[in-house]
Symmetry: C2
Subunit: 340 residues, 2 copies
DNA sequence: TTTAGCACTCAAGGTTACAGAGTGCTAACA
DNA sequence: TGTTAGCACTCTGTAACCTTGAGTGCTAAA
């Protein structure tokens, strides 16, 4: 569809624009290595590329700027694998060399590295518990009417939920309850907890003890309550350094949406394996339609755990960002695998 | 030191400037209720107030703007108690009416209410564990070389720390360890854990078992590791709506410092009881020297638990902010008290 | 001590002029 | 037929200039 030369011109324009954020003129392109045609010829090609929707002008006599369609073509067909500098690789290695025992810390550090290496905003969705099994459950009474249930999963995740207990309940009853739960639930995938709790276990409990009904209802409610996935973002302020966001209005609307972590989390949850690129209006969230979002996933074994992503202006260093995400995705998966 | 009329003029200027963010001229002041003097007289007073350091001009022929010294005087002597609107009170009531069982949720909601009611940025330092005692300790092995220790405090706080265990350790030994720890440590104030762990307990363990040494060292390290206090901020983007921050540079430096939560936490930790106002350069952090920070504390019984604060431009609605902080501080303390 | 009057200052906004970058089109060229 | 040089045209950004309006400081009178 596009001629060889058109592709060449398009690539030069996007590469240059990613660096300079300025519209690119025909003269500048003609000077580039690999380009033999004269400015006039380039102008003709540019007019064609504009007609095809790959380029736009900011005003009648300005140079050209890539359109979203242009970026899409660039990402799909023109991307050359980016070799991370040994310095950048060093930063990653160094970060993961420190012994870290916690998911949280690892994930948080990843967000930091991502934004540091790219100067964009990183978003990391913490590991989901879906795929793990229950390792231990413990209940600790706090007062005569409240208690906390603590769950430890096979992946080492610790969660706790508070719930009410009726005043008349004896602590020995609570102990009995914990024992039954541990007997029956250890090893059960977290995702099956709901089913087990309301089926099997409920029956057993009814046999053994009468006054536990109410407690059990509260506990069940606490355990099944959907916990929002942990979200880590880093380098938000990097966005302010991008020339496309030197407008308070834009910054504000972008930051407003970034404060709504649940929205962002929803966005990243749906991502599946591999690298995904969302350019401008391909983003569901309106406030992000001047931006591109690139997501990747990390896993434990073959189970997908979570998502890492980078948000930047549509004029993004796609090539580098994808490499960094790749490297980090591998590194994260490797780290988690080494734990088990 | 200041005449009655000077005080009157100063108050009008600050009140007006807080509303309009524009320099105030003598004519505007003369028109105000309660002011009988003519613009010329006011001008003389203003010149005096400027000489005394309470006012500044933005340029030779502009109206006057309060200086930090002016705000300080205003806060110390001119503040009239602000009556929260019943609507605002309603928002607070309503937020706390919903049953909440967790410190985290309550504290997070508080941050939200604070920023919603004031249109500034709220900062809430989560409850510190210093004053609480240990209620329960539990250790769960995760793999053959790692485990997680879970602590529950008397205030219902749950914390967990990961640590290494030598491979040769039997799980029965771990159990023994937990039992000893629970026997000896339950009821001990968290703040005394360090002492107990390295003194008394270390001795007992040495008697009972030999191969626990290494595990114990790791556990001790994990437990004593200083956990950063949880910090909740809300309404950061409110700052962008303030006219004094319609400059990307300023916004950026402010947001950069707000991302450094450890710095902020350090700042709030030092606060003691009652409301404290830090105006402009009274703030330790350079990037905040265009801002004022107002802090208050909340408590459980007579033990101070944490800090709530509001960050805004020096041109802040001091009166309202202080009322809101007061109301919330009371509400928070009341909520926590009701739990125990 | 207060006030009216007046000259003076400064910021902000609008207008004009101009240079620079870049385009599209035409006509000549290979 | 594709490529290129030349040229008129368009638009942006910046600087210089002017005008307006708000506000001051000072002086002299009340």
């Amino acid at each position: 569809m596009l001629t060889e030369r058109q592709i060449q011109v398009l690539k030069v324009i996007i590469d240059e624009f990613i660096q300079s954020a300025q519209p690119i003129g025909s003269r500048a392109i003609a000077k580039k290595d690999g380009i033999t045609a004269s400015p006039a010829t380039i102008r003709n090609e540019m007019a064609d590329l504009e007609e095809l929707g790959f380029l736009v002008k900011t005003h009648t006599s300005s140079g050209r700027v890539p359109s979203e369609k242009g970026y899409r073509f660039y990402v799909d067909h023109l991307l050359i694998p980016f070799q991370l500098s040994s310095q950048d690789m060093g930063v990653i290695q160094h970060t993961f060399a420190r012994e870290m025992l916690e998911f949280e810390k690892v994930v948080q550090q990843s967000a930091k590295v991502l934004s540091d290496l790219t100067s964009y905003t990183s978003i990391v969705l913490g590991p989901q518990v879906f795929e793990t099994t229950l390792k231990k459950i413990q209940i600790v009474g706090l007062s005569d009417h409240s208690a906390v249930a603590i769950l430890v999963t096979s992946s080492g995740h610790v969660e706790h939920r508070y719930f009410n207990v009726p005043k008349m309940l004896k602590s020995s009853d609570l102990e009995k309850l914990v024992n039954i739960l541990n007997d029956r639930l250890v090893g059960v995938p977290i995702i099956q907890l709901e089913q087990k709790l309301s089926g099997e276990i409920a029956g057993i409990l009814q046999e053994h003890m009468s006054n536990l009904d109410k407690t059990y209802a509260f506990l069940q409610q606490a355990l099944l309550e959907e916990q929002p996935a942990k979200l880590y973002m880093d380098g938000k302020t990097n966005m302010m350094r991008q020339p496309e966001f030197n407008d308070i209005q834009k910054i504000q609307s972008l930051f407003s949406i970034m404060e709504q972590e649940d929205e962002i989390a929803k966005l990243l949850k749906t991502s599946d394996k591999g690298i995904k690129v969302f350019i401008g209006h391909e983003n569901q969230i309106r406030e992000m339609q001047d931006c591109s979002l690139i997501t990747a996933s990390y896993s434990l074994g073959d189970k997908q755990l979570g998502t890492i992503a980078l948000l930047g202006p549509t004029r993004m260093e796609y090539s580098k960002v994808i490499s960094v995400l790749n490297a980090l995705s591998v590194q994260l998966s490797r780290t988690f695998d080494s734990w088990y």
